[in-house]
């Protein structure tokens, strides 16, 4: 789960990390009202769970009510990278002396965490990292060790930092590290980390990603979960306990594994069709889960056919078959559903589907199910 900037800053602030004074608004009117508290100038930012908004004009210095009107004209009701822009953050202007970069992230390659710091932060940090890697501190952190503030202090010192600013940064690093572990995060990133004229540091932006699998042990994120910035259909998928991803074709895909789903998409697309979405069921399939999944993938009215591809390991294929039948029968429109199922209980499963008139492929070849799709669609048209 990705937190929005203002949500992330709420956490940073609760960890005693200074953030600029800011107000969250949903409407232009509220933005104008809030603007009065910022002495005639402020920064206005769209709140979306994805990067790149700065370069797209989603972050703007506003000096007047006019500027606010313009910003809302540009953004309100629009999408940014397919996320509807619904929330805005209006913030005080910082007296920037320099911009740095700091983060703790999961590092799958090393099987641990990584601490990244650069004295040159901002939107071009990737470029800094690529062109002048010597300017970027990357420290792998072992999962079984406990790193103390002095460890970060020692390493940051080598980048020419000294005195008050050094200890401010090392303490910040330790806070991010401890809270990363304590809260089951995948990423906590502050870019830019702003040093103001007086030497104080501020988190001018915030990117926090929470490990969905760890949320069960963190009440504070369970509330955010409710507010998570996802579509209605993604919410429904969460509720069912499946993963749903929208694409832009007309063939729906339900598969009992992410790999199988991706493979099916590739084959559907290679055959000249386009996938409308994919839904991955994960392990514990029930009749109910499949029933609701069928309804979910067909909510998109473009969907004219659905491929259901299942392997029965933990999944009871008989349950799946029953859910598929009841799901199809309760749809309010006619959608072609074809299935492929192998594994434990495969014969019983096939029998149920055949009796309900759902075409069922009895081998492992996903190429063949796409072939079946092709034939059926050609027949239909």
């Amino acid at each position: 789960m990705k937190l929005l900037e203002h949500q992330g800053k709420q956490f940073l602030s609760s960890w005693d990390i200074p953030v600029p004074r800011g107000i969250v608004v949903k409407t232009k009117e509220k933005a104008k009202e809030a603007f009065h508290e910022f002495n005639g100038k402020a920064v206005l930012k769209i709140q979306v769970p994805v990067g790149g908004r700065g370069k797209a004009g989603g972050v703007k210095l506003v000096n007047s009510i006019n500027d606010i009107d313009e910003f809302f004209a540009k953004w309100q009701g629009r999408d940014f990278k397919s996320f509807p822009v619904e929330t805005f953050l209006i913030e005080e202007i910082l007296n920037i002396k320099s911009e740095m970069y700091i983060s703790i992230a999961l590092n799958p390659k090393a099987g641990g965490l990584i601490f990244i710091f650069s004295r040159e932060g901002g939107v071009d940090i990737e470029e800094v990292a690529e062109k002048t890697p010597e300017k970027v501190l990357k420290l792998n952190l072992k999962p079984t060790e406990e790193y103390k503030e002095y460890y970060f202090r020692k390493e940051l010192r080598k980048f020419g930092l000294k005195g008050k600013i050094l200890t401010k940064l090392s303490r910040l690093a330790e806070k991010l590290y401890l809270n990363f572990k304590k809260n089951d995060l995948m990423l906590v990133e502050i870019n830019p980390l702003v040093i103001v004229e007086k030497g104080e540091i501020f988190a001018a932006d915030s990117k926090i990603e929470v490990d969905d699998s760890g949320i069960f042990r963190h009440k504070q994120f369970q509330e955010f979960r409710e507010l998570e910035y996802i579509t209605e259909l993604e919410k429904e998928a969460q509720d069912i306990g499946v993963t749903y991803v929208k694409l832009d074709g007309d063939i729906g895909i339900i598969a009992s594994g992410a790999g199988l789903a991706m493979e099916t998409i590739d084959l559907v697309n290679a055959a000249g069709y386009k996938s409308a979405n994919f839904l991955e069921t994960g392990g514990g399939i029930t009749k109910e889960l499949i029933h609701r999944s069928v309804h979910l993938v067909t909510k998109d009215k473009n969907v004219r056919a659905v491929i259901v591809s299942l392997y029965g390991g933990v999944n009871p294929l008989v349950e799946a078959a029953k859910g598929l039948v009841s799901g199809k029968q309760s749809l309010d429109r006619d959608v072609l559903i074809i299935a492929k199922a192998l594994g434990n209980q495969q014969e019983e499963c096939w029998k149920i589907l055949e009796e309900a008139g759902i075409p069922i492929l009895k081998n492992h070849r996903s190429e063949d199910i796409v072939e079946v799709l092709k034939q059926r669609l050609e027949v239909a048209s």
Partner: protein, 300 residues
């Protein structure tokens, strides 16, 4: 022979009295797997599928010389179950559950590596050595005994690939689902090395997908392998994996796309299949063109 799961394996099932654990115990036993005991704290002294149940893993090592374990405890408790198995001296652990917090996996992985334990998963269908046994949830009828080593990030896709291999008249020495989570217990190189050294494996098939760097790591190891490796990467049309902030880009650089993986694999001498359906043919060619052991020695 096979790798990791062999005739010497004496396995236990942690979480055997649970809903999934008990059903899977039945399937594993039915397949002929040498399951010597089960463990569910608090249920010591009972039985599941005529398998004796103990309160802790240490007792199964003492009484049954257990050396492998498959984990079916719920995700929130999986870490401690794995640590218990490691501390008790178990050397092969198959961690099936999905949704284990990544911070837990980091700890499990570190401790396993520290003690020389091979930890498969988490979020894995497990390991099957056809004809010998299976530790995990894969349907046994998907796999045939043979001389192809199969590694897969995706469980279901491994069944699909095995189907193609079987249909072509081949089979698997061992299939391992390496785990679908971003962090895995054992590195891919561990499995590749095992297959490379296994006298009963001729060819390794690797089923990868977009995201992460497992395939790049595999390419790196494959450079120095004696045996041929065939790879397939799923996800050409999948939406781009979201990088984590700027940090993701700084760590990974340009890795993680289908293109980068295919490039790395090809440069390492790995044969890359464009579609899964091509794999049997590629195997055929390898067997036809020359004796496999010659392939191996030619690369040495």
């Amino acid at each position: 022979m096979s790798i990791l799961l062999t005739n010497d394996t004496r396995a236990i099932i942690q979480g055997i009295t649970g809903r999934i654990g008990s059903i899977q115990a039945m399937w594993m036993k039915k397949y002929g797997t040498n399951i010597v005991a089960g463990v569910t704290p608090g249920n010591g002294g009972t039985e599941v599928e005529r398998i004796p149940v103990y309160d802790d893993v240490f007792e199964t090592v003492e009484k049954h010389q257990a050396n492998a374990s498959v984990i079916f405890v719920p995700a929130p408790f999986a870490k401690d179950a794995v640590l218990e198995a490691i501390d008790a001296g178990i050397k092969l652990i198959v961690c099936v559950p999905e949704h284990i917090p990544v911070n837990d996996t980091l700890i499990m992985r570190s401790k396993a590596q520290e003690k020389g334990v091979i930890l498969i998963g988490p979020n894995t269908p497990g390991i099957i050595s056809p004809g010998i046994g299976k530790l995990g949830i894969m349907p046994a009828n998907m796999f045939n005994k043979g001389r192809i080593g199969l590694l897969s990030r995706s469980g279901t896709l491994s069944y699909e690939v095995a189907g193609y291999i079987n249909a072509a008249g081949y089979g698997q020495s061992t299939m391992i689902g390496i785990g679908g989570d971003p962090i895995r217990g054992a590195d891919i190189s561990v499995y590749l090395q095992q297959f490379d050294e296994d006298p009963d494996t001729d060819i390794v098939v690797l089923v990868g997908e977009i995201g992460g760097s497992v395939e790049e790591d595999a390419a790196n190891y494959a450079k120095n392998m004696k045996k041929p490796v065939i790879a397939f990467i799923a996800g050409k049309n999948a939406p781009e994996g979201k990088k984590m902030g700027h940090a993701g880009a700084i760590i990974d650089g340009k890795q993680g796309t289908v293109e980068s993986k295919v490039k790395a694999l090809k440069e390492a001498g790995v044969i890359v299949a464009d579609r899964i359906a091509e794999i049997p043919e590629l195997i055929n060619k390898l067997y036809e063109n020359q004796n496999i052991s010659e392939i191996a020695s030619a690369k040495e």
